[in-house]
Amino acid sequence: MTDTHPFTFIQGDTIDFVPLNSEHINLYVKWENSPTVRIYSRNIIPNTIEDMKRFFKPSERGLKKEINFEIWHKKDKKPIGFGEIADIDWYGQKAYLGLIIGEPEYWGQKIGEEATKLMVEYAFNELNIYKLQAHINTANMGSWRCAEKNGFIREATLKKDSYVNGKYLDTYVYSLFKDDWLQLKKEKQSE
C-alpha cells in the first residue's frame, strides 16, 4: 500500500492527481523550460515564475475554463508533472486534454497512460464532457500512443502545424467520445 498525498483529488495506482502547489512553482517552471520536455509540449517562449503565478490567482466565480492538476508519484512522494483539462466548452460539452511528465526519468513507465485514463474518467464522469480532444505533434510518439491506449481515435492530421527544431511537423488531432469510451469499458469488463 502506497502513501496518499494529503490533498489527493483523484486516486490512481502509481500516481495521484492533486491540486497545484505554489511551493512547487520552481519545479513547474523548470518543466516548462526544460529543453527535453518543452520540445513536445511546444513551449517556444521561456516561462518565468511570474508567468506560472497566474495559476494561483483566486479563481473567478462560476465554471472554470481550464482545470489543472499536479501529478504526484505515490511511491517516490514527489511531483513529476501536470495534467490539464483545457479550453472547456461547457455549451458544447467538449474539452482538450494536456499532459506533461516533467521528469524524463519517469518516461516510458506507462505513467502517461495512467494519467490519461484518470483524466478521461474525471472529464466524462464528473464534468459530463461528451468529446475529449488532444492535439499531439507527430514526433511526440509517447503521447499519441498513450492516447491510443486509452481509446482515442486519430480524427485528423493538421499539416505542417508546428515548427519544431527547424522543421514543420504535422499535428494529430485525437478524439474520444463518451459513448465509445463507455463501450470500451464494457468490453474490457466482459473480457
Binding site: E60, R61, G62, L63, K65, Y91, E126, N128
Partner: protein, 145 residues
C-alpha cells in the same frame, strides 16, 4: 415583491464578466401582428455540468393573457433548450394561486415532481410551490422527434 426602478432593471443588461460562462438565456416575446414586445421568457439557473435549467415566462401585457401565448413561448424555449443547449431536464416552479400556469405546465408535458409547502408569502397568505419538470427523453417521445 418591491418596486423595481429603471436602474434595477437596467442592471440585468450588464454584460457578464470576461470568460464567464453565462447561466441564463432570456428572450423578449415579440407579438408579430401587433409588432411590439408583450413579455419575457427564458431559461435561468443553467447548470452546465448536470445540464438542467429553470424555465420562466411572463406576459406583461394583461390583454394578452388567456390566449395561449405563454404556452407557445414556453414551447419554443423548451425546444431551444433541448435541441440547441442540449439540456437534460428543464424545471419550472409555479405557486399554487397561479392556476393558469399550472394548466400551462401540464399542457407542455411537464410532470409534477413535488409540492414544496408554504414556500411563498403572497397577499397575506402562504402558498405552496409546485415543482414541475420535463426530461429531454420524454419531450422527444411526446413530440415524436
Amino acid at each position: 415583491m418591491w418596486p423595481q426602478t429603471l436602474e434595477e432593471v437596467k442592471k440585468r443588461f450588464e454584460p457578464s464578466p470576461d470568460r464567464h460562462i453565462r447561466d441564463k438565456a432570456n428572450f423578449m416575446i415579440y407579438h408579430k401582428q401587433e409588432k411590439r414586445p408583450i413579455g419575457i421568457v427564458g431559461l435561468d439557473e443553467i447548470n452546465w455540468v448536470s445540464r438542467i435549467a429553470n424555465l420562466f415566462a411572463l406576459i406583461g401585457e394583461l390583454e394578452h393573457w388567456g390566449k395561449g401565448i405563454a404556452v407557445e413561448a414556453c414551447a419554443l424555449v423548451i425546444k431551444y433548450g433541448f435541441t440547441e443547449l442540449n439540456l437534460h431536464k428543464i424545471d419550472a416552479g409555479i405557486f399554487s394561486p397561479n392556476q393558469r400556469s399550472l394548466r400551462a405546465a401540464e399542457k407542455l408535458g411537464f410532470e409534477k415532481e413535488a409540492i414544496i409547502k408554504e414556500e411563498i408569502y403572497i397577499d397575506g397568505k402562504y402558498h405552496d410551490n409546485h415543482e414541475f419538470s420535463l426530461l429531454k427523453r420524454d419531450w422527444l417521445e411526446k413530440n415524436k422527434l
